[in-house]
């Protein structure tokens, strides 16, 4: 159908970007659902992107290998830095992970012989097909859904509400937090890999504070009460720049405004099954 072909020719990047952003939002959802505000996922995305891109460009690896490497690398880094860092709580964890993000960015800038430094990597093969993104999203959603409805999901929720009580239920809190952190890193790396092989150029500034805040905003906007929340948040934040094209610099102001307004007025995010249920008069039942 010509109509569809036209649509796709113009909007394919947008749709794929949507899928990738949804993946990113889901990656931070994982740690948020465990009660941790970890702002390192942009950095993990970058680690995944650079690892995969360098493999593809320098060693001509098959795409699937690059993808797996792009997930494994951030997972390993997360495991190593998670051990000391996850002992911290609340604000300190957020600060430490923010700092880590900066460290990664500076590291990339200073290893320009390998990573191209400030100039970034150009000419990454555009291997990402629409079905890669779709498959990734479906797989991640399925995994997270299964996780949520198992003892692991219940453990995460209980840790989020009351870590001490959760521990006294026989839950190994440290191990669960690490699982969420590492898995979140792997998903962020996956998103980074797919993104790098879509946009064919990556640079260190793409994985810094701005990206980290974007990811957080997506999760906060959509809400973390269910898997639909991050996906919704990712969708809106991908489409928003398109809608606001005319505003130029001020469109980022809108992002900031969204964050503030959501926090003030809709703290549970847009996708809040309990609130939606209330609207339909069924109030009080558990979501």
């Amino acid at each position: 159908m010509a109509v569809f072909d036209n649509f796709w020719a113009v909007y394919s990047n947008l749709v794929l970007g949507l899928g990738i952003n949804a993946l990113l939002a889901l990656s931070i959802y994982l740690t948020l659902s465990c009660g941790m505000l970890a702002m390192a996922n942009a950095a993990f995305m970058g680690i995944g992107a650079y690892t995969a891109a360098l493999l593809t460009m320098n060693y001509d690896t098959p795409y699937i290998v690059s993808i797996l490497a792009g997930m494994a690398a951030p997972a390993v880094v997360a495991f190593v830095m998670g051990k000391p860092t996850l002992r911290l709580s609340g604000v300190y964890l957020a600060m430490a992970t923010l700092a880590f993000g900066e460290v990664v960015r500076i590291f990339i800038l200073n290893t320009d012989s390998i990573t191209g430094g400030a100039l970034g990597l150009n000419g990454i093969p555009q291997s990402t097909q629409w079905w890669h993104v779709l498959l990734a999203l479906v797989a991640v959603l399925a995994l997270l859904w299964r996780l949520r409805h198992s003892r692991v999901g219940r453990a995460f929720e209980s840790i989020k509400e009351d870590e001490t009580a959760a521990g006294l239920m026989g839950i190994d809190v440290g191990a669960h937090k690490m699982t969420a952190f590492v898995l979140g890193a792997a998903i962020a790396g996956l998103a980074g890999t797919l993104n790098a092989h879509l946009t064919f150029f990556i640079g260190p500034n793409e994985y810094g504070f701005d990206r980290g805040v974007d990811i957080l905003t997506m999760a906060i906007l959509g809400g973390i009460n269910g898997l639909a929340g991050p996906v919704l948040g990712g969708t809106i934040l991908t489409l928003l720049p398109e809608v606001l094209r005319g505003f130029q610099d001020f469109r980022l102001v809108v992002n900031g405004l969204i964050l503030v307004l959501i926090v003030l007025f809709l703290p549970k995010g847009l996708w809040d099954p309990a609130r939606i249920r209330n609207w339909f008069g069924k109030g009080g039942k558990h979501a």
């Binding site: 996780l147 692991v152 006294l168 239920m169 809190v173 699982t179 558990h286």
Partner: protein
């Protein structure tokens, strides 16, 4: 009966503050053991030490012969000790059923990787968890509210839910921290019966309580803690008549007659009121420690 839980020379200091000094307790297997004492005596600290939330400054705690030193709280729970909290720590945004299912965490036999598979193990274990949770809720007569959110419950029901959740961890020893605080008389009587039934099923119960009628009615043996020291230990009658215990509970001025823990007026000589000792009423709601 051999001791299932043993505290030997347990002391706990916070800086200069000696919260517990040289506490010795032997909790036998089976039966119901009570720990009473005025507010601030250090009772909850004893529970915090047993469950591994705090390390003792000195002394040892052993459970079923094994020294608990250095064991992490979740490992202690998996080893068979469960507890409820004085200030109720439910997972308020989860349903009653889910709260109890969380307690079953360590009992479920599929690993994190196991839940990826479509094998029957995951499904059957989840089913088992659900059924067991419902069963425990029905013991507490809460099964009709299984899908409700936990923070919609009345205060008394919340305490019962905490108990059901603790039972879900399949403990051998149940630590109950003021299980009837804040309940009305009917709720207390009901819970008393439920605890008796639980005890009858073979669980060892160790409880902290302020309500004397409750404690005297349920416990076979009672220890009394005052200012971090055990001042008496024995059966209900012995404790009721122990002069040191009576003195510890006095918070009166000179005109009032002395009364022991269960309100029986005795002819005790006026003794200096220990600073900070709160008078305990017989069956009123326990004062917030």
């Amino acid at each position: 009966m051999s001791a299932t839980l043993q505290l030997k020379n347990i002391s706990r200091h916070f800086g200069g503050l000696k919260v517990l000094q040289d506490v010795n307790l032997d909790i036998p297997q089976g039966g119901i053991f009570g720990l009473i004492g005025p507010n601030g005596a250090g009772k909850t600290t004893v529970f915090n030490l047993i469950t591994g939330l705090l390390p003792p400054t000195s002394g040892t705690i052993s459970f079923e012969g094994r020294d608990l030193a250095g064991t992490k709280p979740h490992e202690i729970t998996r080893g068979g000790i469960a507890r409820t909290f004085q200030n109720i720590r439910l997972f308020k945004e989860m349903s009653l059923l889910e709260n109890v299912m969380v307690g079953m965490h360590a009992q479920l036999r599929y690993g994190t990787l196991g839940l990826l598979g479509t094998s029957g193990l995951f499904r059957s274990e989840e089913k088992r968890a659900r059924e067991r949770a419902r069963e425990l809720l029905s013991w507490m007569k809460l099964d009709h509210k299984a899908e409700d959110t936990a923070d919609n419950l009345s205060y008394g029901d919340q305490r019962k839910l905490e108990l059901a959740r603790a039972l879900a961890t399949e403990p051998k020893l149940l630590l109950l921290d003021e299980p009837v605080a804040g309940m009305n008389a009917n709720e207390k009587t009901e819970l008393m019966r439920e605890i008796e039934q639980i005890s009858g099923r073979g669980y060892t119960i160790f409880m902290i309580e302020h309500d004397m009628r409750f404690v005297m009615g349920l416990c076979q043996e009672i220890a009394v803690l005052n200012f971090g020291r055990i001042i008496a230990q024995g059966g209900p009658d012995a404790i009721r008549n122990d002069p040191q215990v009576i003195e510890a509970y006095l918070g009166r001025d000179e005109d009032e007659p002395a009364s022991g823990p269960d309100g029986i007026v005795t002819d005790g000589a006026p003794s200096p009121v220990a600073a900070g000792v709160a008078p305990t009423s017989v069956s009123g709601p326990g004062a917030q420690a």
